[in-house]
Subunit: 200 residues, 2 copies
């Protein structure tokens, strides 16, 4: 039945080239700029190849997302090994350009069921990992610092980090300095002065 058409091998070189092009385009100009033509152009390939390697444009978006998410999980596992996991999360999420890409995907996902489910799935995995590590860390620091359950600490930190990044992108800054100060004071209470940023 559905789609007898053949699809390119998952490890073909040009498939990766197309993924790179799509991701870059998405970051630079937003998901609406990710058309088969523009992706191909950026990749130096013919537009039809996009449909050879990805049945639909939605499939392409999905593939871009999965690739980044998997890499993100590996990277997070790395930085969470830090003795100061809260600092690591905070620094990562206020500074990484990944946040912009995530925003783009979230906006796109708002109206695409499959992608939305995929994002939720990965987001839960990210948070689970975070929770485990932060729970252990808070235990180490001695409980009751402010009686914050680990998940709540994470949600708070991530919420603020995200807001700051979004507003920064818009060119806003009112209240940012004061907020960063308060958050970092809190982190310092828990984890002490931040060490130099971790490798990779």
């Amino acid at each position: 039945m559905a789609s007898a058409r053949r699809i390119g091998a998952p490890d073909a070189k040009n498939r990766g080239v197309l993924l790179d092009a799509a991701e870059q385009l998405m970051l630079e100009e937003g998901y609406a700029a990710v058309t088969s033509r523009r992706v191909a152009q950026k990749a130096g390939l013919k537009p039809q190849l996009v449909h050879y390697y990805f049945r639909t444009m939605d499939d392409l978006f999905m593939a871009v997302f999965r690739r980044r998410a998997e890499q993100g999980l590996r990277y997070q596992a790395e930085i969470l090994k830090s003795p100061q996991p809260l600092w690591a999360l905070w620094k990562f999420h206020t500074e990484s350009p990944d946040t912009a890409l995530t925003m783009e995907f979230t906006a796109l996902a708002n109206h695409r069921k499959e992608l939305r489910a995929e994002i939720a799935y990965y987001a839960e995995r990210f948070r689970d990992e975070q929770s485990k590590v932060v729970a252990r860390a808070l235990e180490r620091y001695g409980t009751g610092v402010h009686e914050l359950p680990p998940v709540v600490a994470i949600v708070l930190v991530m919420g603020v980090a995200q807001l700051l990044v979004i507003e920064n992108t818009l060119g806003m800054s009112s209240g940012h300095g004061e907020t960063v100060e308060i958050v970092e004071r809190y982190l310092r209470q828990l984890e002490g002065e931040p060490a130099i940023s971790p490798g990779t």
Copy 2:
């Protein structure tokens, strides 16, 4: 020089109809679905009328945004009259469907200079109003409750509220219950039990 073409009157009935259609479409299917054809279809008008009332599609987006932003400012002024402004902000931003539309505009604005500036401008106005009111409120409650500067309290509350709404839309919920509990406990410490929601 530029564009000698005439443009429809700002108060023409069909202009409003088109704005309504565009806004609804944006909410239901995302900004990428807002094309002249689809807007016109939803409005029961001819596609070309979109370009008669709005020179470009960007102009249309801008007009939709401004209309909502102005209305939002009026509404916020209303709810900030509450004797419990922090509760009002929290409730409004965790429950209002407006948040979804704002997200959509923010994503769109990410790659459109003019719209981005406009959103930043209005966002600052929103925050200024909030700051004034919350500052007065915190003073009333007696300072030093947790030594949070008003702007910081606002940024924290807004950040968390936004994260919860976004994740909710994705279908996520891990950590939400606990976070809501903590935030509302904090609000209760400051402003007591929330009264019934305000009118309008």
